[in-house]
């Protein structure tokens, strides 16, 4: 029952997205212009550490932008309809899944454009890609929950940024550690504990959201 609800909600979100392309175009434009601006100001990055931190900063802001749109789009009457039709757990899990797909596509594209403009510094691709995917998952889940909380208020972007920053920090720091290892001579096995930590973080966030979202939804 829960799985079918989730499947339909995710399909609904994807279909809406393909019809309007509002969110994905906005985010794409944001990412490409940010990378282009950094390209213009940095010309050529020779230092892997700079490449790394710039990449993750852009990813972070793109993520906050992308996920905050997911709760803004629904009008109150439509939300009432969802309330009667689906269970709150299905709603939060479907939003997380949809945001994860969005973030996954976004991060791979970001990597592509970044490598194209700034030069490819990645040495260990499997490690980097797995960090990227786990990171996207983490961003999607944590930020979806924060967006759910922020959407219940006057819903300005500043509040979303303030609330998400402390929550996203552990994720970001672990990600930067793993990816800086992937940019140098790091191996998959040496960094497996960080990847495991990322996975655990994801699981904790999802479990917490599953339990807490019904309280938010009661409006």
């Amino acid at each position: 029952m829960l799985l079918t609800e989730i499947k339909y909600l995710v399909l609904k979100d994807i279909k809406l997205e393909f019809k309007q392309r509002y969110a994905i175009n906005g985010i794409l434009l944001y990412v490409v212009s940010t990378i282009f601006v950094s390209y213009l100001s940095f010309a050529k990055i020779i230092d892997p550490a700079t490449w790394n931190s710039l990449f993750w900063i852009i990813m972070l802001f793109a993520a906050v932008n992308a996920v905050s749109k997911s709760f803004v789009q629904e009008s109150t009457s439509r939300q009432l309809y969802y309330y009667t039709v689906a269970s709150p757990q299905a709603i939060i899990l479907s939003k997380m899944l949809y945001n994860f797909m969005l973030m996954g596509v976004l991060s791979l594209l970001c990597l592509l454009v970044f490598t194209g403009l700034m030069g490819g510094f990645v040495v260990n691709y499997p490690l980097f890609i797995s960090a990227l995917l786990l990171g996207s998952f983490g961003f999607a889940s944590a930020l979806t929950m924060i967006a759910a909380i922020a959407s219940r208020t006057n819903n300005n972007f500043a509040l979303m940024a303030i609330l998400s920053f402390p929550v996203v920090m552990p994720l970001l720091l672990t990600l930067m550690k793993v990816s800086s290892a992937a940019l140098s001579v790091g191996t998959m096995s040496g960094n497996i504990k960080y990847l495991a930590a990322l996975l655990m973080l994801n699981v904790i966030v999802i479990a917490l959201s599953y339990v807490l979202f019904p309280y938010l939804w009661r409006d």
């Binding site: 944590a142 929950m145 924060i146 909380i149 219940r152 208020t153 006057n154 509040l159 303030i162 609330l163 920053f165 402390p166 929550v167 920090m169 552990p170 720091l173 672990t174 504990k193 960080y194 930590a197 655990m200 973080l201 904790i204 966030v205 917490l208 959201s209 807490l212 309280y215 938010l216 009661r218 409006d219």
Partner: protein
Amino acid sequence: MVDFIRKNWWKLLGIALILYSIIAGFLIEVPDLPIIRQSIRNLFFHVVMWFSMMVMFGTSLARSLRYLSTFDLKHDVYAIQSVNVGLFFGMMGIVTGMEWANFTWGTPWTNDPQLNGAAITILAYFAYLVLRRSIDEENKRARIAAVYNVFAFVMLIVFIGILPRLAQGSLHPGKGGSPMTVTNLDINMRLVFYPAIAGWIIVGYWLTGIRVKMAYIRQHLDNPEF
């Protein structure tokens, strides 16, 4: 007079414990470790502040959880006031830490996972305060703030508790690369350390109680039929 002491004995106990910790903290003999030397006495103030802060935030978490299960607004008032007192202890902890760091490491702040974790915790609870201010309706505010409280607390336990252990080479005592931890604390220092924590926690609860009463009075003044 006897009535006063009977009802408020715990407050006097808290004050007594803190006075004892301050006086004894400067008078007892402490081990003379390299670099730290006598400033190790800051342990009685800096670390005590962090412990008290964690207890206050833990209380706030418990109150938030109780609010979510009972929807009694009383718990919400306790939750926010515990956070206020906890933030005060946290800021004191940071100030004493910066003071200590300037003396032992030469700079008030370094790029250390535990320091960053502490700063992020304080930021998260300030964000909690901002979140509360942005919602007007009482019940809604209590509910949403409670959800954020639980969420932030768990994330921060992960952050401050687990991630620094993954990191190596930290200047901060207790995590890889530094001689002293809380577990092998010198026996003389323990005699001052534990009472200090107890005293500050008692005073923390006292402060929370006063702030809760002030909040109730303010609520009564705002709407008389409450």
